[in-house]
């Protein structure tokens, strides 16, 4: 903001140098030097000499602004607008003053006078002011213009990315921020914004990668640290999330809410559930008035102790009657326990608080259905389907309730939609730690780490040809053929090795293939391996012959 004000000031001063009479140039110099009193005399003299020119009004406005007299500045800018309604500096300065005085409508009027297709600097300033007002849509439009005029400008791209992220236009946001990152690959701000945009898109693994890079560049930035912890949790990297919360809490030890979230992440980490639950219990004891603490603890204990979970949720609702998640969870659990009459009021409350929540409507429908209120259940499921365009569960439930009503043809449509949307396999979250660290390693080290990981996996799943192929590919790229051959001959020959031969043939890298072949032959002669070795040799020989080598 300050940068832009200075720029405009310099621009105005430049204009003065070019066009203004000597007295005004002197006044501008005095203003720059902070000699407001002396400058004031010159301006008064000039303004009293007859009808002031637009340039004089502009400079007078700037003078009063610089010297802390906002009212007089405003008066002169307004006078300028009367003769030049689209005057850039006048409108920008007036908009700024209106924003500071919390008069957004007035600010909008000034900014609107500037249009949306002005010069890059003006649009950049207007975009910034719109963003300050929270009007990110208009801010995004202005920054898009700036980015179009200055495609290689990091600031323009960064601003566009930030604004677009806040309007929810995540595709534009990611595109702009990716472009910004290409200009400054290690800029913590860009990495953070891009990571946040990916997290907002639900692309948590990528978000974790970017935010880990951001944290490497800005290790003491609390915003980055917290975003990383949350993204890691979103990705299901619970162990990593707990560590990331730890790191954040070193920077912000007083953030009790994050201490609670850390306990939750810990409880979801493989082998550390009890530890996490204990921490959450301690948290609830320490801060009994935090509804979220009761809610989180309830989430962890419902399987083993449903009644305790219900009590905790009741307390969460008592403390925060507007907590839709607690109402929903209590309704869900009561339904699961067959207590649908009791579940209903909670889901009705949740529906009122969060009328756009898909899961609330879906769960509400299930309870209504269990209470034999089929038509109301249908309406609830329809609402869920309408709100959740990709929600497969609500589609199954809607199909089922329609079947119950004998509306088979319509039901089948929804059931088919469910089948299409249902993911083939649930995401396999990684609850142990390690992903954040991997993201921050130098490329070579990360590669070695991946090799070690895959080697361990292949050891655990020796007959998994897909894993073998992944490992073989990495080894092949490193030219570590001996290890591939050793692996191929250490047990039953996996399909992986045959595919690998195919891969080498496709390139074709005859030298490598020949080396591979001779290694296999040597191993065979040395009595290493199994009968499958002959098959591998056959493939290799055939490949070499085919290639005329």
């Amino acid at each position: 903001m300050v940068r832009w004000a200075v720029l405009l000031w310099v621009a105005a001063a430049g204009a003065l140098r070019a066009q203004a009479p000597p007295d005004l140039r002197e006044a501008a110099r005095l203003d720059r030097d902070g000699k407001c009193g002396e400058a004031e005399l010159i301006y008064r003299r000039a303004l009293g000499a007859g009808t002031p020119s637009p340039a004089l009004l502009n400079n007078a406005g700037n003078h009063y602004l610089a010297c802390g007299n906002g009212a007089k500045a405003r008066e002169h800018y307004e006078a300028l607008r009367r003769v030049a309604p689209a005057h850039v500096n006048a409108n920008l300065q007036l908009a700024k003053m209106a924003i500071e005085a919390k008069r957004p409508r007035e600010a909008e009027r000034y900014l609107a006078a500037l249009g949306a297709n002005g010069e890059a600097e003006v649009m950049a300033e207007a975009g910034t002011l719109y963003a300050r007002m929270g009007d990110f849509r208009r801010a995004q439009e202005r920054f898009e213009r700036v980015a179009a005029l200055r495609p290689g400008d990091f600031g323009a791209l960064w601003n566009l990315g930030r604004a677009a992220a806040r309007t929810g236009d995540l595709v534009v946001a990611r595109g702009a921020l990716e472009a910004a990152m290409r200009l400054r690959p290690e800029d913590a701000g860009a990495l953070f914004e891009l990571g946040a945009a990916h997290a907002a898109s639900g692309e948590f693994p990528r978000a974790v990668y970017l935010l880990a890079q951001a944290q490497k560049a800005a290790p003491y930035d609390t915003g980055v640290a917290l975003a990383l912890a949350r993204a890691a949790e979103g990705a299901g990297y619970y162990g990593d999330a707990a560590l990331a919360y730890d790191r954040y809490l070193v920077l912000r030890p007083a953030d009790e809410g994050s201490r609670r979230d850390r306990a939750r992440a810990l409880a979801n980490t493989t082998g550390r559930r009890e530890e996490g639950v204990r921490e959450l219990e301690a948290y609830v004891k320490r801060l009994p008035e935090d509804a979220a603490g009761h809610f989180e603890l309830a989430q962890l204990c419902w399987k083993a102790e449903p009644e305790r979970s219900l009590t905790l949720l009741a307390e969460a609702v008592r403390l925060d009657p507007k907590m839709a998640a607690a109402h929903t969870a209590r309704g869900w659990l009561l339904h699961r326990l067959g207590r649908d009459e009791e579940a209903l009021p909670h889901l009705e409350a949740a529906r009122m608080i969060s009328p756009l929540a898909v899961r609330v409507w879906d769960q509400y429908g299930l309870v209504l259905q269990a209470l034999d209120r089929g038509e109301e259940a249908e309406a609830a499921f329809r609402k869920a389907v309408e709100l959740g365009l990709a929600d497969w569960e609500a589609r199954l439930h809607l199909g089922r309730v329609l079947m119950e009503q004998g509306r088979e043809a319509e039901a089948r449509t929804w059931l088919e939609a469910y089948e299409k949307l249902r993911p083939a396999r649930q995401r396999n979250a990684r609850s142990e730690a390690g992903m954040i660290e991997l993201a921050t390693l130098p490329a070579a080290e990360a590669r070695q780490r991946e090799l070690t990981r895959l080697t361990a996996l292949v050891k655990a799943r020796p007959d998994d040809s897909v894993l073998r192929l992944h490992l073989d590919k990495l080894l092949l790229a490193d030219g570590r053929l001996e290890e591939i051959v050793k692996m191929a001959l250490s047990g039953r020959l996996a399909e992986a090795e045959r595919e690998l031969v195919g891969m080498i043939r496709e390139r074709p890298d005859w030298e490598r293939l020949r080396k591979f072949h001779s290694l296999v032959v040597a191993q065979q002669k040395g009595g290493v391996g199994t009968g499958d070795c002959g098959r591998l040799e056959d493939w290799l020989r055939a490949a070499c012959l085919e290639g005329g080598k």
Binding site: R336, L337, A370, R400, M403, E404, Q426, A460, R461, D463
Partner: protein
């Protein structure tokens, strides 16, 4: 406090108690899945089928157990892997007649299904296998002949791992056909090995293996079968089949087939009455649970748990999943009622395999028995006890395992379970296998239990076993009880071929009606309770 407890013990109503009497008999059978130490093979999680049959027609139900094999050879390399036929001598004593009967088996045996496929009045046996399937024909003289190749039931795609067979006369031609649940394509050579970081083997996730179609074999009526998998509409539905349960779910008079699938949607093959089936699990609401998810469905049963005249669907599954109970809404669709009936918290701690509806106290409401134990032994809490959930008037289930006898405190890795009235006292007993152990033969004391009726059905035009018959019992007070005859139950098992009804406090049935598949109907009035009746198709 003590006085109050004593009063409670004195005046509390007596409840049936199950007592394990296996130790009274001299037999060698121990469920042996071939795991010794180190390397684990995928089929080892599945072992220990039970079939109940009266192979010698002496009126006492005998028991047949299936067993594993040596890995990786997949051969029964010694008696420790033999299947076992135990003849019921009465008085709670069983005699091992396996060798004489010729039923020691081959390969890795899984599900056992008893049924009179040739209508000669003697119960035959089909044994599904991780390798070959086997059909044994009861010669009627205490011996069985292996007739697999001749029958055509040995045909299946190479490497198919079959889990369970179930007899059903799906085309009402009077001969039993066979439906077969298959899990995957598997051989010792393609077995995937999974090893923990500490070097300990564990059983790989089912998703490691491909799904396959289940199969249907139609009887030609001359002791041979044709594979009609494709023609009947079974080929396009690929699953990982476990338990099979059969009943007429839509009231059209034709048997439908439910197959529980592990980690895949469950199947409900609806009989089209023309030799074809259409898989309707999704449309009718039994493919997924209410979380719109698949589970590791294991054992299956389809009976009328709420006495509304429509068969309901049940499956059990693994720990932290909820066992599935689906109420039949007059044949139009099913509603998931696990939550409404209280099964959620009751079932979540348990990994169930063999399971089924059993009215253990003859109150006229079918209760739920489940044989439990985790897939592997590596997790804390993997060894589990069996559970008995009492059905409270078709509305809720409550756990009564704690009062049902010491068996329900013994932890292990139970698998197959079958229900039978082994001493003909009118109370259903339970036979359950457990990995690495002798089976438990749990005799029901019947203490405090209600009156009962047991029906032995004989088909004439219909298949002799009368599988598929619909039976309706009406009591003088107006209660109506229903069942659809199908011994296939739970997981790897088949139960008492007779149809059992608990009548509660009523000492007679006002009427008994049997509708045989194909149309024969028999109606009886004023039938005194506490009897085993043989009813022949008119």
């Amino acid at each position: 406090m003590k006085a109050a407890l004593a009063w409670l013990l004195l005046f509390a109503p007596a409840a049936p108690l199950f007592t394990d009497i296996a130790s009274r008999s001299d037999f060698a059978y121990v469920t042996n899945n071939g795991f010794a130490a180190g390397r684990k093979y995928f089929p080892q999680t599945l072992c220990g089928g039970v079939a109940v049959l009266d192979f010698d027609n002496d009126g006492l139900m005998d028991l047949y157990f299936t067993n594993g094999a040596q890995f990786p050879e997949m051969k029964k390399t010694g008696p420790k892997f033999h299947n076992a036929l135990l003849r019921n001598k009465g008085g709670g004593v069983f005699e091992d007649v396996t060798a004489r009967a010729g039923l020691a088996g081959v390969g890795y045996s899984l599900g056992a299904a008893a049924g009179d496929f040739d209508n000669d009045g003697f119960a035959d046996l089909f044994v599904a296998g991780a390798g070959a399937n086997t059909l044994y024909r009861n010669a009627g003289d205490g011996t069985f002949q292996e007739v697999t190749a001749k029958s055509g039931l040995g045909t299946k795609p190479a490497g198919t791992l079959s889990v369970q067979g179930a007899w059903v006369d799906y085309d009402h031609d009077g001969y039993l056909d066979l439906v077969l649940s298959n899990y995957t394509v598997w051989t010792p050579a393609t077995d995937q090995r999974c090893v923990r970081e500490d070097g300990v083997d564990y059983y790989c996730h089912p998703k490691t293996y491909p799904s396959v179609p289940h199969r249907l074999y139609r009887s030609r009526g001359d002791g041979t079968f044709e594979d009609v998998t494709e023609a009947a509409g079974f080929a396009t539905a690929r699953g990982k089949g476990m338990g099979i349960a059969i009943a007429d779910v839509n009231g059209d008079g034709w048997e439908d087939i439910f197959i529980a699938n592990d980690t895949e949607p469950n199947f409900l093959f609806v009989n089209q009455k023309n030799g074809k089936f259409v898989e309707q699990g999704l449309a009718l609401g039994v493919a997924y649970n209410d979380d719109a998810a698949t589970v590791s469905a294991m054992g299956a049963d389809v009976r009328d748990f709420d006495n509304d005249g429509w068969p309901d669907v049940f499956y059990n599954d693994l720990t932290e999943q909820v066992w599935g109970l689906f109420r039949n809404l007059r044949g139009k669709s099913f509603r998931y009622v696990s939550a409404a009936t209280g099964l959620g918290p009751l079932s979540m701690p348990f990994s169930g395999w063999g399971a089924g509806f059993i009215d253990f106290d003859n109150d006229g409401w079918r209760d739920l028995y489940s044989a439990n134990g985790d897939v592997d032994s590596l997790r804390v809490g993997a060894a589990q006890q069996d559970t008995l959930f009492r059905n409270v008037e078709g509305k809720r289930f409550v756990n009564v395992s704690g009062a049902a006898g010491p068996h329900f405190e013994r932890k292990g890795y139970q698998r197959g379970v079958a229900f039978a009235d082994l001493n003909n006292d009118g109370f259903l007993d339970v036979v359950v296998t457990s990995l690495g152990r002798k089976p438990s033969i749990l005799m029901n004391s019947g203490a405090g239990g209600g009156h009962w009726l047991q029906l032995r059905l004989v088909g004439r035009k219909a298949n002799r076993d009368s599988i598929g018959a619909r039976i309706t019992v009406t009591t003088p007070a107006g209660r109506t009880l229903h069942d659809w005859k199908s011994p296939s139950v739970g997981f790897l098992s088949s139960s008492d071929p007779r149809v059992h009804f608990g009548l509660g406090a009523e000492a007679k049935a006002a009427s008994v009606e049997v509708q045989w598949p194909g149309g024969g109907v028999l109606r009886l009035q004023d039938v005194a309770a506490n009897r085993i009746l043989t009813l022949e198709e008119p």
